[in-house]
């Protein structure tokens, strides 16, 4: 077709102009690709930090934390009467170990399970939670601290009485009696165990993606499967295939999970039903993971749960995100604040440059365009010609821009830029010492700093959008140039001298 032949001739033979216009658009496109790729990289980095905090699909966690304050009125006494009662019944004196009944010289090997930080509640609550509108899925989990005591009871008279209330926060309540036992040949070990609903792995406290070695829970099968965290596996010298004993039952270690940052870091994960049976916490859970029907429903669902479920605390993914700080967060807020502005400015500048170059080209070709009109080209045909050329430059600009952008992204990745993310524990954020309420920290929310490598990525969608933007830029400049050309009078063919 002649139309294409003419456009190609113009683009090919006026190479300088073509390249200049295409480059103008390309720089804009490349910036969009790079800024977007970088912000995707930052999003991914943040997701990497946040993902272990909850299951992948979890929008919010519902629990009943003990409300502890540090203003002198904290501790057991600060709890409501019903909470005190529940604690007494769950934990009992001596953290559940009846030391008074131990006979000196006798052998002991007991596991005692206690609730950790959160008050437990009946798993039937899951049913009512799932009935709240816009709730997509619910899964329960139970995290307990297992105190394992083994050895021979020393010949020391141990008396332990329940401490009365009124003591300060962190050390209040039932102090574990381990200090008194250190002198003997009894050894105590405290491990945190979480029971997860393996039928809903995306909502679980340990997800299949966290498994670094071995495998995830089988949905049916062996009830005595355990997944251990990397840290615990190292300290307890465990590997896939090892056996561990919990509550007198032998578990097979089937997988090792990566240590999450800021999440509920348990040493051992087992199936929820198994843990409930072994620990005696039959039908009890302490956390409900809730997935909303869509991201926009999260706030409303969280509000409904808080209202309906007295004493509950709902932590949403955005609450978790707000706990992350450090250079990663700074970079993210910078990219969200400045990134969009930079992209818009780059695009406007690119389109402006392309339009000005096209206008300059039209002005320079006044006689040519006048001639086309004088020999019978219609306005539409002239506009189509100018637009077609600009479109060609837009396509070229898009391709060059994507190449530049992808190259820039590769360069960013090659730099191996790492950013720091610090995750604060929610208790610390709340100003309390809840993690230490029971004198233990094993199952507390871990806090700490991690370095995350930024992996900027250019998705196919992003590249398609970028090329689309360049073509759009070409069309805009073509339309501007074309309209100018359409207004040129055919008489210009006889008048303008170059």
């Amino acid at each position: 077709m002649f139309f294409f032949k003419y456009i190609l001739s113009e683009l090919r033979r006026r190479r300088g102009r073509t390249i200049l216009t295409a480059l103008g658009l390309a720089v804009g496109v490349a910036l969009v690709v790079m800024v977007n790729g970088l912000s995707t990289g930052l999003d991914n980095a943040q997701a990497t930090v946040l993902k272990p905090l909850t299951g992948i699909g979890t929008d919010m966690s519902v629990s009943r934390p003990l409300k502890v304050t540090t203003n002198g009125k904290g501790g057991f006494a600060a709890l409501s009467k019903s909470q005190q009662e529940q604690l007494r019944s769950e934990v009992g004196p001596g953290g559940g170990v009846n030391f008074a009944s131990l006979k000196a010289g006798s052998k002991v090997d007991t596991d005692t399970f206690r609730a950790s930080g959160n008050l437990t509640f009946s798993a039937t609550k899951l049913t009512s939670l799932s009935k709240i509108s816009d709730v997509q899925a619910v899964a329960g989990s139970l995290t307990l601290t297992d105190t394992h005591i083994s050895g021979t009871v020393p010949k020391i008279k141990i008396t332990q009485s329940r401490t009365s209330g009124g003591r300060h926060g962190g050390g209040g309540g039932f102090g574990p009696a381990s200090g008194a036992l250190n002198g003997g040949s009894l050894t105590t070990a405290s491990t945190s165990v979480t029971g997860v609903d393996q039928t809903q792995p995306t909502l679980a406290a340990v997800t299949p993606s966290q498994i670094t070695k071995g495998s995830y829970f089988t949905s049916g099968g062996n009830a005595y499967e355990a997944i251990v965290s990397t840290g615990y596996a190292n300290s307890a010298n465990l590997s896939v295939g090892s056996k561990i004993t919990l509550g007198g039952k032998t578990f097979d270690v089937i997988g090792i999970s990566s240590a999450p940052l800021g999440g509920t870091a348990s040493d051992i994960y087992v199936k929820l039903a198994t843990l409930q049976k072994v620990s005696g916490y039959t039908g009890q859970i302490d956390t409900a993971e809730v997935e909303a029907a869509s991201a926009s429903d999260v706030t409303a669902v969280a509000a409904t749960i808080s209202k309906d479920f007295t004493g509950s605390s709902v932590t949403t993914a955005s609450d978790l995100a707000s706990r992350v700080s450090g250079s990663l967060t700074d970079a993210k807020s910078l990219s969200s604040k400045l990134g969009t502005a930079l992209e818009i400015i780059a695009l406007i500048a690119a389109v402006l440059i392309a339009s000005l170059l096209t206008l300059a080209s039209v002005a320079k070709r006044t006689r040519e365009i006048g001639t086309l009109k004088a020999i019978g080209w219609s306005r539409w045909q002239v506009v189509r010609q100018i637009c077609g050329e600009a479109l060609g430059q837009g396509v070229a600009g898009g391709v060059i821009g994507v190449l530049l952008g992808v190259g820039g992204i590769a360069a960013i990745d090659a730099l191996g830029w790492t950013l720091k993310a610090t995750v604060a524990s929610p208790a610390a954020a709340a100003g309390g010492g809840g993690g230490g309420f029971f004198g233990q920290a094993a199952a507390a929310i871990t806090s700490g700093t991690t370095a995350v490598k930024i992996n900027a990525t250019a998705s196919i969608e992003l590249i398609a959008i970028a090329v689309g933007l360049a073509i759009l830029g070409g069309l805009v400049s073509g339309a501007i140039g074309g309209l100018r050309a359409a207004r040129l009078r055919p008489a210009a063919a006889l008048r303008t001298v170059e």
Binding site: M1, F2, F3, K5, Y6, S9, E10, R12, R13, R14, R367, E368, T371, L372, K373, A374, I375, G376, W377, S378, R379, Q381, R489, P490, A491, A493, L494, R495, V497, E498
Partner: protein, 254 residues
């Protein structure tokens, strides 16, 4: 100069003429045509009540001093511009009553234009420059290529078809431009100083080509020239001065 054979070009078709009241003989009929540029104190009267008739097969030369209104007149004849007042009939149709779209069609189908600066598109080959004029016709590219080859052959440039304008001499460029102007078999060929940018030899070539078009194809030509030998070659010469026709030397009978 290479000898070339020229195929006879057809005169306006019956259907072209059927719309208007003009006879086969009348191409243009101008009455009281005035063209004023600008307004108020700076107004320039480029043409002042021009009456003119051009018949089919006529070879008409327009002469006159610079600024006398020659180009303005040619623009009006070429439907590139509209007169301020007066009436211009082309093949019996009143140009002043036509819309922009119809004028565009008329320029494409009825008028051929040749320019002093050749006005070829610098990025297109000689063949493509000719094709520009018929690009908008609903013909197959094979049909168009055939027509382009025929036209380039008729101006003696078949062997230069793939050359860019910058690779052609001035005379060759102007012959390509003439081939382009003839592509749609126009009823009239308009030329503004077609030899103005050429040396004497090239100018003679162009003149011979134009003369052949008139002699062999009965082509109607209106051209502007400063060169006496070209004016002499024309059958009729009108002389402009300050926008008025100073003299009109009609061809003598026989």
């Amino acid at each position: 100069m290479p000898s070339t054979t020229l195929e006879p070009l057809p005169t306006p078709t019956a259907s072209d003429l059927a719309e208007g009241t003009a006879t086969l003989e009348s191409i243009y009929g101008l009455s009281g045509v005035t063209k004023t540029y600008g307004s108020g104190a700076t107004a320039v009267c480029a043409l002042d009540s021009i009456d003119l008739t051009v018949s089919a097969g006529e070879f008409l030369a327009i002469v006159g001093a610079s600024g006398s209104g020659k180009t303005t007149l040619l623009q009006l004849l070429g439907a590139l511009d509209r007169p301020t007042t007066g009436r211009i009939e082309l093949l019996g149709r009143d140009l002043t009553s036509l819309g922009e779209r119809e004028l565009t069609r008329l320029r494409r189908d009825t008028i051929g234009f040749v320019f002093q600066q050749f006005n070829l598109i610098p990025t297109l080959s000689a063949a493509d420059n000719v094709e520009v004029a018929i690009a908008t016709r609903h013909e197959s590219s094979a049909q168009r290529a055939e027509r382009v080859a025929e036209l380039l052959g008729s101006v003696g440039l078949a062997h230069r078809a793939q050359h860019l304008p910058s690779q052609l001499s001035g005379g060759e460029q102007q012959r390509v431009a003439i081939a382009r102007a003839l592509a749609n078999r126009p009823a009239v060929l308009l030329a503004d100083e077609p030899t103005g940018n050429l040396d004497t030899a090239s100018g003679s070539e162009i003149l011979e080509l134009l003369e052949r078009l008139v002699a062999e194809g009965n082509q109607t030509i209106v051209l502007i020239t400063h060169e006496p030998r070209i004016a002499e070659a024309a059958q009729r010469t009108i002389s402009l001065k300050d926008g008025r026709i100073l003299s009109d030397t009609q061809p003598g009978p026989g």
